[in-house]
């Protein structure tokens, strides 16, 4: 369970570090998961993955267009993207989905996804801290006006960052479907928001974000394991499920270390 969260969180990382608030992670994952199933069933797993990534990148580019070109508030654009994805995925799946299809969606090996999920945070950390492009990404996110004065072009840098967001969310959505082999409406069920939460709790840093996501995945599977065994049965399962959200609120209130929010988040 931790791997799709980690992939989506990395998508959030590239976006938010470049200064674009992205609550559309949820929608991008959802449309990607839908495309994995709708395209994957007739044309095979690789085509499904390609369609997943392409659709997530399309939504991400729309977010870039709205927030950067039309100067729409990032939150409103994100809500719009989520609505498009929620409606679009259920519409497309109702028409092109094949409910009678036997044997589920063709799957790629989940190990490929796991390797990407574990390696990409380290790569992103190196990229952001050690390379010219990465430092520019962080600079644009920290202060778009000053970086503009330094000769950077926030719009271009953010475009690349959001394409990367789409790529990661596409992988995350495809992985969700590859786990179970079937697509159901609203399969993400808020996982995009959890990924965003993990990113916030970890202070917008990729390797801690990976750790948080893996810990969440670990606790989720632990909870499934203990369900019905009577261990800690006096704690309702809903309390466990609320825990990541509660931790995020506490982290945002500044009770878990200093506030590390990128300073230019949401600025044009």
């Amino acid at each position: 369970m931790g791997a799709p969260l980690a992939l989506a969180a990395m998508g959030g990382y590239t976006s938010e570090r470049s200064g674009v608030i992205n609550i559309g992670l949820e929608g991008m994952m959802l449309i990607a998961a839908c495309m994995t199933a709708v395209v994957g069933v007739p044309y095979g797993a690789v085509a499904g993955l390609a369609a997943a990534i392409a659709s997530a990148i399309a939504l991400s580019t729309l977010h870039w267009l709205m927030t950067q070109k039309f100067s729409v508030n990032h939150v409103i654009s994100g809500m719009g993207i989520n609505a498009l994805a929620a409606g679009g995925s259920s519409f497309v799946f109702a028409i092109y989905g094949d409910p009678k299809h036997e044997g589920g969606v063709p799957q790629l090996s989940v190990w490929i996804f796991f390797v990407i999920a574990v390696i990409s945070p380290a790569l992103l950390w190196l990229y952001a801290g050690r390379t010219r492009g990465g430092l520019r990404l962080v600079a644009v996110g920290a202060d778009p006006d000053k970086s503009r004065l330094m000769g950077l072009q926030p719009l271009q840098i953010r475009f690349v960052a959001l394409v990367a967001t789409g790529l990661f969310c596409g992988l995350a959505g495809a992985l969700l479907v590859s786990y179970v082999g079937v697509y159901t409406n609203n399969i993400t069920a808020g996982k995009g928001y959890v990924a965003l939460a993990a990113l916030v709790v970890s202070g917008w840093r990729p390797i801690p974000a990976l750790a948080v996501c893996l810990a969440l995945g670990f606790f989720t599977s632990l909870q499934y394991r203990f369900q019905g065994t009577g261990f800690l049965h006096w704690i309702p399962s809903q309390a466990w499920q609320s825990l990541p959200y509660l931790l995020t609120i506490i982290a945002l209130a500044g009770f878990l270390g200093k506030n590390r929010t990128p300073a230019g988040l949401g600025k044009p």
């Binding site: 039309f70 729409v72 409103i76 929620a86 409606g87 965003l196 809903q238 506030n259 044009p268």
Partner: protein
């Protein structure tokens, strides 16, 4: 007004495109959409029923929006308010029950919004993330309430018992199939009250000043933190009231999946409404028509997702026209 018309045309064009994909004639489908929502007294009653919660929830979002706050948490505040109102109405019946349940719903909604307002005002944590988190906690919390403490033991599914007929809000017009509940009147009244409050009172003026420019408001002697906290808590209280009214006027009980996303639709309503609170009424009505007409389309074989897509585009278009940020000169 022409902008609203342009949006409407865009939305309808999109609907028509979707009809072509799903093998239903576009004209026929549009007729279905409007006949299903406005064509008969029963359809109108259904549209107004869909509009009613969107008015109150729209007022909640709008109020926060004027203070510069994005209250994505209306959904959570609404369901917590509905749960509290049901719990009270099940204990106390009659007019006293209605009053207490409404107040209880408001208190629960305000309580649920308070952490987001406090963190925004005193800890500078973004309210969007906190309210999204509070939404999820609200869903799990009410899920737990329905799994044991509030569950009606006689029912299979997770639902509470039904409240007493004496604790229901009365109808203002009843000529079946056209029935109008006083819930709708409350919604319209809330919109008008908000418009007056924002324009005619000091607190309302301060709230809008903080929303327009918090730094300038601070130098003008306004306590911006207090205003932020007040706006968030009031927004939550109205959202809680929306949940309470939904129980008292229409549903009569609280259950899993109580809100089909009123809080999120309300965000679209508030954005479409523009800068005047009175705009919430036509925007709410438009969303109500789409919701009711969408159900009629579904019967014709057009998947319901299409109305959500149209709403998403409406939000994006309206935002592109209205909510553009001023670019800093650099």
């Amino acid at each position: 007004m022409w902008r609203l018309a342009a949006l409407l045309t865009g939305g309808l064009a999109m609907l028509a495109g979707a009809m072509l994909i799903s093998d239903v004639g576009p004209l026929h489908a549009l007729r279905t959409l409007f006949e299903g929502s406005l064509g008969s007294p029963g359809a109108v009653a259904g549209t107004l029923r869909e509009t009613s919660p969107l008015l109150l929830a729209g007022v909640a979002v709008f109020l926060a929006l004027r203070a510069g706050l994005y209250n994505i948490g209306v959904e959570g505040q609404l369901i917590v308010g509905a749960a509290a109102a049901t719990a009270i109405a099940l204990q106390v019946s009659g007019p006293a029950g209605i009053l207490l349940a409404s107040l209880g719903g408001m208190a629960a909604g305000a309580l649920w919004a308070f952490p987001a307002g406090w963190i925004k005002a005193y800890r500078n944590g973004h309210e969007v993330i906190t309210t999204i988190m509070l939404n999820n906690i609200a869903i799990y919390f009410t899920g737990w309430l329905l799994s044991s403490p509030m569950k009606d033991p006689d029912q299979q599914s997770p639902t509470t018992g039904t409240i007493d007929a004496a604790s229901r809000l009365p109808h203002v017009f009843s000529n079946p199939p056209l029935i109008i509940s006083s819930g709708l009147v409350l919604g319209i009244a809330a919109v008008i009250l908000l418009a007056l409050w924002l324009k005619k009172t000091v607190a309302g003026y301060e709230l809008e000043a903080v929303g327009a420019n918090p730094v300038a408001a601070k130098y003008a002697g306004i306590n911006a933190r207090k205003s932020t906290l007040l706006a968030m808590a009031s927004s939550g209280a109205i959202a809680g009231l929306a949940g309470a009214v939904q129980v008292l006027a229409y549903e009569g009980r609280f259950y899993t999946g109580f809100s089909p996303g009123y809080g999120f639709d309300a965000l679209g309503v508030a954005i479409l409404a523009g800068s005047n609170a009175l705009g919430v009424i036509p925007a709410g009505l438009l969303f109500g028509i789409l919701a009711k007409g969408g159900t009629a389309l579904q019967i014709e074989g057009v998947p319901k997702g299409i109305t959500t897509v149209v709403l998403g585009f409406l939000i994006l278009f309206a935002a592109a026209v209205r909510y553009r940020q001023v670019k800093a000169v650099a």
